[in-house]
């Protein structure tokens, strides 16, 4: 990245988040440039979801801060520039809403107090559905879609919202190969529009086609840079807590070692 880079889309500075005695994020610093697709890679429980929540301001860091587009997350949320695609387990798929209803929820931040949809909202929803190729499924109940279609419906919500920054939590879980390719293509297009896309995943094979850069997370940032380099066995081994050289990878011990070195 050159010094002429614009304001980072997301800037995370020395963020610590603890849940009781569990340290989910332990001094995470991360700067993500606009218009890029970044893969956030780590195993379950590595702090990916917590990092997302910290970026959205859903959890308050015990230390450090987050800037979205150079401003506090609350300001970014009011501007409606942060879109979120939840992981499947966090969604009640029996909820009585149609695909169109879900996409319309992206417009609520721009509507009046009763969220009555105006023609511009209907148009934005129709465009977003078209963009993710779900126009024919708009009236279906959200749970009646396939895994990949469900993800696309939520991406459409972010598009309807005109989110400049899209956070996707495990979008490839429970998604077949073809849908995965469709989602990858869609996210690439969104980045080409200048949107910033941050995708958390523990699924590595989609990464080279999807991401411009990769971040390896295990409570701390282990690596941030080229995807191909991130996928090197030694890096992955550290991220997933397996070490080919059988070194002790407990982060506590690691830090102690660094301190004594």
């Amino acid at each position: 990245m050159s010094p002429a880079d614009p304001t980072p889309a997301i800037e995370v500075a020395d963020v610590v988040v603890r849940y009781g005695e569990v340290v989910a994020l332990d001094g995470v610093s991360l700067s993500i440039a606009p218009g890029r697709v970044t893969g956030l890679v780590g195993m379950n429980g590595s702090g990916k979801s917590t990092l997302f929540k910290a970026i959205m301001g859903m959890v308050r860091p015990d230390r450090g801060h987050v800037l979205i587009d150079g401003a506090a997350p609350a300001a970014a949320r009011r501007r409606g520039i942060v879109g979120y695609v939840p992981q499947s387990e966090d969604v009640d798929w029996t909820f009585p809403v149609s695909v169109r209803d879900v996409v319309m929820m992206g417009r609520y931040g721009r509507q009046g107090l009763t969220r009555r949809a105006r023609p511009a909202d209907h148009a934005a929803v129709a465009d977003a559905l078209d963009r993710v190729e779900l126009t024919g499924y708009a009236e279906r109940q959200i749970g009646q879609l396939s895994g990949g279609q469900r993800k696309r419906a939520f991406v459409a919500r972010g598009i309807a919202q005109d989110a400049r920054i899209l956070l996707l939590d495990e979008p490839f879980a429970g998604v077949d190969k073809r849908s995965e390719a469709t989602i990858v293509r869609l996210l690439r297009e969104l980045a080409d529009d200048g949107r910033t896309v941050l995708v958390s995943t523990h699924d590595l094979h989609a990464l080279p086609r999807l991401a411009d850069e990769a971040v390896l997370l295990l409570h701390r940032i282990l690596f941030h840079g080229d995807v191909s380099e991130a996928l090197r066995p030694d890096h992955l081994a550290r991220a997933f807590g397996l070490d080919v050289l059988d070194r002790d990878l407990d982060p506590e011990l690691d830090r102690d070692r660094e301190a004594s070195a």
Binding site: G57, M58, S98, Y108
Partner: protein
């Protein structure tokens, strides 16, 4: 005696007319709220809050304050206590709910027993739909109207909150505010329904209609119509049954609601048990 006579006879009595009016009003607003409660997963919370308002109502009675005010204070107090216990100890939420609401309910019972006109207050526990006065009816109608208007105006926000609180937060709305709003409406609605079925059975009116409607439709907008209509119909049937059978009105209102749920649970076209049995599914598959 024709069927029409059977239906019209009770209406000669003013108390029956008031009972029916009160029941329909309470049924509609409770059913509306229940649509969100069942989807947010707050059924247990609804149970807790509707019981925990009892001491508030008794204290309001003693002080001559509006019941709704006492109910609101204790409704929020209950939720605050539940949150505090869960957040500051190793006790899990369901246990915290059980501890708080039973304790507050017990406090209400004790307060009733030491309050001079306890015959009046016992009606809060079991409901006294046949003893509703014109003044009661007015109070219930006003509270119900307030809850109804807020629910209808904020229905999209509440649905968003129920469906995806994280997205609610991400687009700059406050899930905390919407949760508190839903809670306040829950306490308010509990007061409305107290008169009809009593504290103990309020929760039925706050859960069954929404759950029944959820089995009948995949559209939230339709749930908001089906639940109140169904609940009002069941309540009217319950009141009539109580007249003809000379049995507990609150109990019969809830029994009829439960029976309607059972029928829908079994026979709902898409989400009913019978329709989802293997042999039934095979038949549909062949047909389509």
């Amino acid at each position: 005696m024709t069927v029409l006579d059977l239906l019209l006879e009770p209406l000669q009595f003013d108390f029956m007319v008031r009972a029916l009016a009160t029941t329909v009003i309470a049924a509609i607003v409770c059913a509306l709220l229940s649509c969100w409660l069942v989807l947010v997963g707050w059924s247990l919370m609804g149970d807790a809050v509707s019981h925990a308002v009892l001491p508030g109502v008794v204290i309001a009675y003693v002080l001559g304050a509006p019941f709704a005010l006492g109910a609101l204070v204790f409704g929020f107090l209950a939720v605050a206590l539940i949150g505090a216990i869960r957040g500051t100890s190793r006790i899990k939420e369901d246990a915290a709910i059980g501890i708080v609401f039973t304790t507050l309910f017990a406090l209400g019972l004790v307060l009733i027993s030491v309050t001079p006109s306890h015959t009046d207050l016992n009606h809060i526990i079991f409901g006294n739909i046949l003893g509703v006065s014109d003044a009661d009816l007015v109070q219930i109608a006003v509270l119900a109207a307030v809850a109804f208007v807020i629910l209808v105006l904020k229905r999209r926000d509440l649905t968003l909150y129920a469906f995806d609180p994280l997205h609610t937060h991400a687009i700059g709305l406050s899930p905390r505010f919407l949760g508190a709003l839903l809670l306040g409406l829950l306490a308010l609605t509990a007061v409305v329904a107290l008169q009809v079925v009593g504290v103990i059975l309020v929760v039925a009116m706050l859960i069954i209609p929404g759950a029944t409607a959820h089995l009948l439709t995949d559209r939230f907008g339709r749930m908001l119509v089906i639940a109140p209509v169904l609940s009002a119909a069941c309540s009217v049937v319950g009141i009539y049954l109580s007249y003809w059978l000379d049995a507990a009105s609150g109990g019969l209102v809830v029994l009829v609601q439960g029976a309607a749920f059972l029928l829908v649970y079994l026979f709902s076209p898409r989400h009913g048990l019978i329709g989802r049995l293997p042999w039934a599914r095979r038949r549909t598959a062949v047909a389509s």
